[in-house]
Amino acid sequence: MTLLDNTTEFVVPSTIDRSRVEMEARNVACWFGDNKVLADVNLQMPAGEVTALIGPSGCGKSTFLRTLNRMHELVPSASLAGTITLGGEDIYRSRLPVTETRRRVGMVFQKPNPFPAMTVAENVVSGLKLAGVKVTRSERQDLVEHCLRRAGLWQEVEKRLGDPGRALSGGQQQRLCIARALAVEPQVLLMDEPCSALDPTSTRRIEETIATLQETITIVIVTHNMQQAQRVSQRCAFFLAAYGEPGHIVESGTTERIFNNPDDPRTSDYVQGRFG
């Protein structure tokens, strides 16, 4: 399959170790103002695996995901408690700058959001620009090709690198956003319902991309699509929030077990589409 031909080796000039790492959340709780929306979340996201977060809307999946790369704190009233580690290092208490954390833990949003003022190629390398990393012209061109290949987009846009990012179709834009996130060589990639705005064909392409990426990157994905969770993930966590109460994880484990043999009746109800 052509999507797998990511043979060009590429090394971003960087001092930190970019080997794949695990993430772990311990006793995480989140607030918006005084409203507690997430309580007592414990979750391991092992290296090289895809962890899917499932659960009905409003139970705090996005909130949890955003704590993993410190996007949560951008909301003025937001606060949190607990510990989140990236490769054993506490991302909130170590001296790691927040920008470095976010570079290591990349994010793809629900709605494709390529930078409209940049071309396709510029979008891919925008992360380097934003980090102030200088690269030579040939390095840059290699990086563009390498990342677009990994995102499974190279063949479609090879001739359109100078077009504005928004000239692509929705599915292509989303893969462009994935390529953009890959360009800064993250160790973890967070995806918040990356396919919910896309058609089935584009969705399949992105799932293929996820499959190839997981060899090198730890992936956490939020999805409302049960089949998707089963197709792409090895581990799964089911979130739930009772009315007026903070969300929490009902149970988590291998995707296989959560879907075929869950402990909690609410989980089996949800994964079989009986509520939510």
Binding site: A117, T119, A121, G132, Q141, R166, R180
Partner: protein
């Protein structure tokens, strides 16, 4: 194949005929048209006999009153009172719309008709050094005033655009503690009377700092007026940048400064340019602050930092108060040039404003090619 291509292929070749929804009922149209004609006839009959009005203006005032009454009465006869009131409102509100367009045509038309016959190419290259009050209006020109205006507005731009855009960035990106009071202060300052801006620069720059009247003093006064305008319009433009782009930039590990400079400002580029040019179009015609600050001159002074300068609006304002026809004609020519400048700026602003953030200009395209990004 992309999905959009699929879509177009599936679209049926012939479309069913759509229902055309008429917004204007034919009966209503007849009623309005009929009333217009009937009231015209009636006005013509009774005007000057029964109505205590004279002159062309009076005729049309009289016609309008009869017309509006007729529309109401006719519709009321044909249908009911509610419909009649609706028609009445429609006619009056349409007149309001027309009343806004009319002055533009009249002002522009009149300025052209008064200004064009003394407009010669020499107006743009000569000054008033050999011109006396009795010379013909085609002699000499306004080059000194045009140069002055361009320099003063240019300097004002250099001073207030960076400050204004940065203030807007403070309001919409940094969102510091001062944001709310700053917004109020900017609103309040954006309506400082222009003469007060001139008076202020006179008080501080000339009286207190002991400087003399120069083009630069004028541009300081213009900046006082320009700064709040730029701040306000730029903030509006920056707020239109989707928050998702800022999040995307931050999620890539971009700091605040790079997010603003690499993502937010480039995305808002065309909007910012439009805001600045529209602000320029307004500032370029300001007269009052210059009366007190630039001193006025009859000859070219290309140095805005020393010696008195002239400006196009001040040139017009001075000449139009002379009693001689030739001076007044010269003033109108200056006014026409000024109006043309404003129109040109306005059109440029509209063209730039029509571009989306993904417009890639020729220069940028070339640079991208060089960097291997296109």
């Amino acid at each position: 194949m992309t999905d959009t291509e699929l879509d177009t292929e599936l679209a049926p070749a012939t479309e069913p005929e759509r229902i055309r929804i008429r917004t204007l009922d034919p009966d209503d149209a007849t009623a309005v048209g009929g009333s217009a004609l009937a009231s015209l006839a009636l006005t013509w009959l009774i005007y000057g006999r029964l109505v205590p009005l004279t002159g062309g203006l009076g005729f049309w005032v009289c016609w309008y009153i009869i017309f509006v009454t007729a529309v109401w009465a006719v519709t009321r006869q044909l249908s009911d009172a509610i419909h009649a009131r609706d028609q009445l409102a429609r006619v009056i509100i349409w007149s309001g719309g027309m009343a806004v367009i009319a002055p533009l045509l009249l002002v522009v038309g009149y300025t052209i008709s008064r200004g064009y016959h003394a407009l010669r190419p020499s107006f743009f290259v000569e000054d008033q050094r050999y011109v006396g009050a009795l010379s013909k209006s085609t002699e000499g020109g306004g080059a000194h005033a045009i140069i002055g205006t361009l320099q003063q507005v240019g300097l004002a731009l250099v001073i207030s655009v960076p400050l204004g855009v940065m203030s807007a960035v403070y309001l919409s990106e940094v969102k510091g503690r001062l944001a709310r009071p700053l917004r109020t202060a900017t609103d309040a300052m954006s309506a400082v009377p222009s003469i007060v801006a001139g008076l202020f620069i006179y008080a501080i720059w000339i009286l207190s700092f002991g400087q003399s009247q120069t083009g630069f003093a004028g541009s300081l006064a213009l900046s006082v007026l320009f700064l709040p305008t730029v701040t306000r319009t730029s903030e509006v433009v920056l707020r239109l940048v989707p928050g998702g782009l800022r999040e995307a930039s931050l999620a890539l590990g971009g700091g605040d400064w790079r997010t603003t400079s690499r993502v937010v400002l480039p995305t808002a580029r065309s909007g910012l340019a439009t805001a600045v040019i529209l602000g320029m179009a307004r500032v370029i015609g300001e007269t009052a602050p210059l009366i007190l600050t630039i001193g006025g001159a009859f000859v070219v002074n290309a140095n805005p930092f020393s010696g008195k300068q002239d400006s196009l609006p001040y040139f017009v304002f001075r000449l139009v108060r002379f009693p001689q026809e030739s001076q007044i004609d010269r003033a109108w020519t200056g006014a026409l040039v000024l109006l043309m400048l404003v129109l040109v700026l306005f059109v440029i602003a509209r063209i730039i404003g029509g571009r989306g953030p993904d417009h890639i200009g020729r220069l940028r395209r070339r640079r991208l090619k060089k960097e291997g990004l296109a």
